[in-house]
Symmetry: C2
Subunit: 339 residues, 2 copies
């Protein structure tokens, strides 16, 4: 078997990739939420100084990357590679943000699992000796998502209780072969799960089976168990999806209770922010990881987490054609830099 | 510097990845073209037995993967990972084709560069010891692309002379740590180039600068030159873009003449098939590589090629908002299995 592979879906990088810096940029509503103080930049302008929301999302990623290299004390030209993707059709948030920067770029599509997917690939790249400084980045924007996936905002459509609120935000993490910071210990690649969920306003339900499958595969491949982790963090199932994941795990005798949390339930305070089932979007798990979670891993408040990015792989076209919603989840185990 | 990295944008895998099998599935028009006999499957039905073109594209990828594992004498459960992506919004061709197969999957978005991007990542995965059997796959479909990017087909819109014809096809390559077949020698990751091309009907012009940048970076990083290759194959600049690339190279004193060809000019016979500037779409370079090119590398007719996947990173939204078209190109150097 390949030397860095473990079990069916997982790998342990030979050179331990270190997350030496991280940056998060968030919108106004996210800045008012429980994690507001953990973001590097909070913008009051939903256009981020641009003419359109889509270009605003591009600017979000530019700001995240600029903040990241500044925090790391680097120049953009010192980066070996950027893995990034977003929810916009043809991922224009990512590709437009990197225009003429001269930074090598590989584009991803993993829906809301993109923060975990990009982190996993950055770990693979650094761990295999293909690069010394690799960035994992993603974004989402409430307004660009609403008009692309749902209704024009001016239409004022009612939201269902299971609907989630797309986070306006971008997160970026710098994965290096050397340096200080939280360490990527192992990764698990997900499979596409489709249990026939048809409701595009209940994406937590569509993603929960994928989350369960990947978490189970991770424990199986690495010989670990929930109690080995301080936190198992999905991103983003929301309140409904999180409950479904707990139930799926309970039915298979896997107790996640007490350790499971979800970025969609952390990023907003639903008692005052009225986001229904919680936050969502690539940016949701990105700003939660590249703020609160990595800060706590750096300080030693968290010793070890399993970061599980979950994505609903639907499109408006697939929904209009009456098709169910496949889900995917990729998991990254991260250790505190301090022992 | 990272041990497998070469120069700014390139790498040489430590374990030489071998392309042990490849498969191509094409539509009727492609089957009637100059490469018709090199495809494993040619379907006369543009729906591929499905109810919609988008689902037909999903079926295209399923057929390519089924044909690939059959040719390789494997079962799908023996695959370690599939890298795939397509042009459909949210890449539903790729994710729906892998539903409930149990195969680990990482989704990509690189527009028409996806065959090269997926092959490069498969080489990185196998070359770093993360997997033994990794698939690189992509697809495109003329009818699903036309209605998503341009006009409903029934509208009968006129095509400009610079327009390309999206190939209906899917190609898949199996990259292994052991076995016989063409070998992936080195890879070069592209940067996002934007020279301000605004015409969404002239994507060859938008991609040519990216192709030139990546080809130049490849020669610089690896210390090689055009004469070291039997063929430098872009995919897919079309006739106009190919001429622009030759001109860009000439201005910088790099002679590609005689060695440069383009998948968009190989896949159709423009004298009888009326495709204007040539073929395009992720499937164009995919079926040209996973048919004619790999067949010739296997037999020794070609000794060494530089396969350069080129992508135009636009979306209908970015075009409607008056933005230019960024391009990207990734290059993979492939050696004949026979010496």
């Amino acid at each position: 078997m390949a030397k860095q592979k473990r079990g069916k879906q997982s790998f342990i990088p030979e050179i331990q990739p270190v997350i030496t810096a991280w940056a998060s940029v968030a919108g106004k509503k996210e800045g008012e939420g429980p994690l507001g103080k953990t973001f590097d930049v909070v913008c009051q302008d939903s256009y981020f100084g641009q003419k359109t929301w889509e270009q605003g999302e591009k600017r979000l990623q530019q700001l995240a990357l600029e903040t990241l290299v500044k925090k790391a004390g680097l120049k953009e030209t010192q980066l070996d590679l950027v893995y990034s993707g977003d929810l916009l059709n043809q991922c224009i948030g990512s590709s437009f943000s990197l225009r003429n920067t001269g930074i090598p770029h590989l584009g991803l599509y993993g829906a809301c699992s993109t923060m975990a997917e990009s982190l996993l690939l950055a770990a693979m790249t650094v761990g295999g000796g293909y690069g010394d400084r690799v960035v994992a980045m993603t974004s989402s924007h409430f307004a660009s998502s609403e008009r692309q996936y749902r209704f024009p905002l001016g239409y004022g459509g009612q939201r269902t209780p299971t609907a989630q609120w797309t986070v306006t935000g971008s997160g970026a993490a710098l994965v290096c072969a050397e340096g200080k910071g939280p360490v990527i210990e192992s990764c698990t690649v997900g499979t596409v799960q489709d249990l026939g969920i048809m409701d595009a306003n209940n994406m937590g339900a569509a993603m929960a089976p994928a989350a369960f499958n990947t978490i189970r595969a991770h424990f199986r491949d690495l010989g670990s168990a929930p109690e080995d982790y301080d936190l198992i963090v999905t991103g983003d199932l929301g309140q409904m999806g999180k409950e479904m994941l707990l139930e799926l795990a309970r039915l298979e005798g896997l107790s996640l209770g007490g350790r499971l949390t979800d970025c969609g339930t952390l990023v907003f305070d639903n008692t005052v922010q009225d986001v229904h089932a919680g936050g969502s979007g690539c940016g949701c798990s990105a700003i939660t990881l590249c703020g609160d979670l990595l800060n706590k891993l750096e300080s030693g408040k968290l010793k070890r987490i399993l970061f599980c990015g979950t994505g609903a792989l639907l499109s408006p076209t697939s929904t209009q054609q009456g098709l169910p919603i496949p889900g995917v989840c990729h998991a990254v185990s991260i250790l505190s830099g301090r022992n």
